[in-house]
């Protein structure tokens, strides 16, 4: 198949080093221990924010490095971000609905 070389530099093959994956694994394990430890301390409403922030950080590490999204095409990234946007719409509108019910004191509600 030599008549079809990789012409587009965006498609050049990226192979991560073992060190990269090892560093990411250690970071993920440290974040897991950190989040389990922080959960035992009373921070009030901050507990939820810390737990979910650490989860998002871990997700980003897995998605960007293990799942190679750093090197994926623009189209793949747009589809990924678009999909997460739909999830955001689902969550945002449902929470808005449930949290504002009864605010206006409409009879029968």
């Amino acid at each position: 198949m030599n008549e079809h070389p990789h012409q587009d530099p965006e498609h050049a093959e990226h192979i991560d080093s073992v060190k990269t994956y090892a560093v990411i694994l250690v970071a993920l394990l440290c974040l897991t221990i950190l989040t389990a430890f922080v959960a035992t301390i009373d921070l009030g409403p901050l507990n939820i924010i810390v737990a979910l922030s650490i989860a998002v950080a871990k997700m980003l590490l897995v998605v960007l490095v293990f799942m190679h999204v750093r090197f994926s095409t623009r189209l793949t990234r747009v589809v990924l971000v678009g999909g997460l946007l739909w999830l955001a719409i689902l969550l945002l509108f449902a929470f808005t609905d449930f949290n504002t019910r009864g605010l206006l004191g409409v009879p029968g509600k």
Partner: protein, 237 residues
């Protein structure tokens, strides 16, 4: 060439255009212009599937969060009854499996067949370890009378047994569906191991290893969110 398909599908008219004889391979099917284009199409297709999975789990995360805010006290109590050390251990086991999966894909990129098989077997073992620990955790639920479908269900410290039952229904549904994805993942990895042994893959064509990796990492990401939402929030009384 191992990855070559036995019967090439060359349309007779192609031969008259003076083009080089085009044999169809696994790495370059005839509907694609380049191997890179085919690889990108496979990756994109997998991501579209994963997005549908995000929406599938997203609906359950939504339901969980809404009831959690409605029944905050009972659900916090139920959440504290879960076994945190076991949950944290299982998270680490799954992260190790993701690491070995990433290493398997890397070995596939480099064409190291033995390394691919070794890392895939390790991935499978970590996955099975996760399922084993999960099974032990579920067994504990039976012993603690925390299974909502059983008549002996009882969560200590609250009168609102209905709300507690709902928590454990979500717990079993969400961890159960996650575990089901793990079982499917183990099956996929097993299939990839056999295909690797049969020399199906090469540095030119390792797409199935890559795609299986995407699936495995996705299941890991779902657990990354299940863990804090079930085990960690309101842990401190």
């Amino acid at each position: 060439m191992d990855s070559q398909i036995q019967q090439s599908h060359v349309h007779p008219s192609d031969l008259h255009q003076g083009e080089a004889h085009h044999l169809e391979t696994l790495a370059l099917r005839e509907q694609f212009d380049t191997e890179a284009q085919q690889k990108d199409a496979s990756t994109l297709g997998m991501w579209v599937f994963l997005i549908t999975e995000v929406m599938f789990f997203g609906g359950m995360f939504l339901g969980y969060t809404l009831y959690r805010s409605n029944y905050a006290d009972t659900w916090a109590l139920a959440s504290r009854s879960l076994n945190l050390p076991i949950g944290a251990t299982n998270t680490c086991v799954l992260l190790f499996s993701s690491f070995t999966m990433a290493m398997a894909v890397r070995a596939g990129q480099l064409g190291k067949k033995k390394a691919v098989i070794l890392f895939l077997i390790l991935t499978m073992l970590f996955g099975l370890a996760f399922l084993g620990i999960k099974g032990y955790e579920w067994t504990q639920k039976f012993e603690e009378h925390h299974v909502p479908a059983l008549a002996n269900f009882h969560l200590e410290g609250t009168q609102l047994q209905g709300q507690a039952k709902l928590f454990f229904s979500f717990y079993f549904a969400m961890t159960g569906l996650h575990a089901l994805h793990m079982v499917v993942g183990v099956g996929i990895v097993l299939f990839i191991i056999f295909q690797t042994m049969r020399n199906k893959y090469s540095p030119k064509y390792y797409t199935p290893i890559d795609i299986a990796g995407l699936y495995w990492h996705f299941v890991d990401v779902v657990w990354i969110f299940l863990f804090p939402l079930f085990y960690l929030i309101d842990r401190h009384p």
